[in-house]
Symmetry: D2
Subunit: 163 residues, 4 copies
């Protein structure tokens, strides 16, 4: 059972540009991470886009949806910026795909010593293998259905959406 990982950018994959002194995008760190965590699950990595999730417009989300549809794999993990992860999850959730899709990301870029990226990837890769078809968000050690979650921007954590 191969898992597809669709990369869209976000904090997870931020890179430090030392000439400009700012956080930008260059390449994805996914291939490097998958190697040192000793993951033996067959994985197909797809670089869909590398953008900040605040820059994600409808067309960007549709490109993610299109990739999910086209994928021959039934199990898909998407790395995504946290700011609009819930919005993209909704686009995918409403599409009613016959697949298991987990969105994850990071609050602190992978390149930092104290990043949550690798932990979140472990959560997402496990959840995608165990959950039935549907669209979910895996963050903060928890897994949420796409229509039951919101990001608490003050605390920087994902929480169950109240009724």
């Amino acid at each position: 059972m191969t898992i597809r990982i669709i990369i869209t950018g976000g904090t997870f994959d931020k890179h430090y540009d030392e000439i400009r002194g700012s956080l930008t995008f260059k390449d994805s760190h996914l291939p490097e991470i998958l190697k040192f965590v000793r993951c033996t699950v067959p994985i197909e990595v797809e670089l869909n886009q590398l953008i900040d999730s605040l820059d994600m417009h409808t067309s960007n989300r549709l490109r993610v949806l299109e990739s999910c549809r086209r994928a021959s794999e039934e199990r898909i993990v998407i790395t995504h910026g946290t700011d609009t992860m819930v919005e993209t999850a909704a686009v995918l959730g409403e599409a009613g795909l016959a697949k298991t899709v987990i969105l994850t990301g990071a609050m602190v870029p992978y390149i930092f010593n104290n990043s949550d990226a690798v932990f979140n990837l472990g959560c997402a890769l496990t959840a995608v293998q165990l959950l039935p078809h549907g669209v979910y968000i895996a963050m903060n050690g928890r897994v949420f259905g796409w229509d039951r979650v919101h990001k608490n921007r003050e605390l920087g954590v994902f929480e169950e959406k109240r009724g």
Copy 2:
């Protein structure tokens, strides 16, 4: 739903003793890890023992079993050395506990830059929330039933047991 993490030592928690120049145990890194990965699941950490899993004897495994039995939590993650993780899993599996128990560990200590510890913890914490009662091993991005797994010592990976 609180998750109990039972610490037994293993490569996961190895510490570098710079005076002796060797890998030993001192404290567990779990509390520090749980903080920076931004885990919001309520967790109860229990320091059961801090030993190399090659030094695990029957009495040590029974101490782990006893902790699982006594725990008020129904969901338990155990950090354990990889060398005899399968043996401890068998002791727990045969006990038929009405709980979900996931054993995990690391091939490379947490204190190294390229450790698999944090990834494996993410896998285990997710699996323990999603799987029915039973005893499992979460390693290499996969989850195995306790009686269907062995460690391939040459490759340093966990695999499905054949036959």
Copy 3:
């Protein structure tokens, strides 16, 4: 012989604000670094300011100069942003202090895996003990007199000033 380290901010001490997703300042990482590098030289750390060196105005530089003057130590290391390090060095150099002053900084923040901060600190702390009175910049493994150096902004390295 005690060495004074005057902290002014710069890339060296940048902190990642995970709520805003940007690099800012919070505390200095100097005390933590000095501990794990096992430095046994007596050191007095002084938090002078925590700013980006592009935000350094004349008043900021005079505050650094004032600290150098007031210091009872004869040997001083200053951590500083790289963009205007040469300008601050010139203010200090022209003041003709009877002290050895080394400015250093980092192109990549300390909190990143592949930062040059700790290396540069080692260079600066060594240079300050070995060089006669004067003002110097220690970057890229080299030590430059304050009036013989410029930053090559395209390459992100310090070079000998030609002419």
Copy 4:
């Protein structure tokens, strides 16, 4: 002015063998380190040997001496295990080479998050450029003449030799 770095092994370059679960040697991390610290000094790296300094016998030390003699560079840094660094320094010091030679090493391997290796390398590379001919040890942020230093094994630090 090119600097030669002669690698002999020691804690600095220890590698973690995840199959055996122990610290051994594989390759040197020097080339990787020199790149990310953005060192622009021309450097010639020489892999002399990769051993624990407790395994250093007279023949091993003579091989280091021979490399120092043969080197066309006048400035040499040697990475070395800390346990017998003083002994090797004595062999080199008594040889009366017309060169500046700095020995350095690490108490914690480079591959650990909190290693002193990169700091010590910065100290050594700076000292070798600033000091007159002679043999020195750069550890703990200090530089010692080869015949005025001993390792305090209890504290794990280098100190001035008394008497």
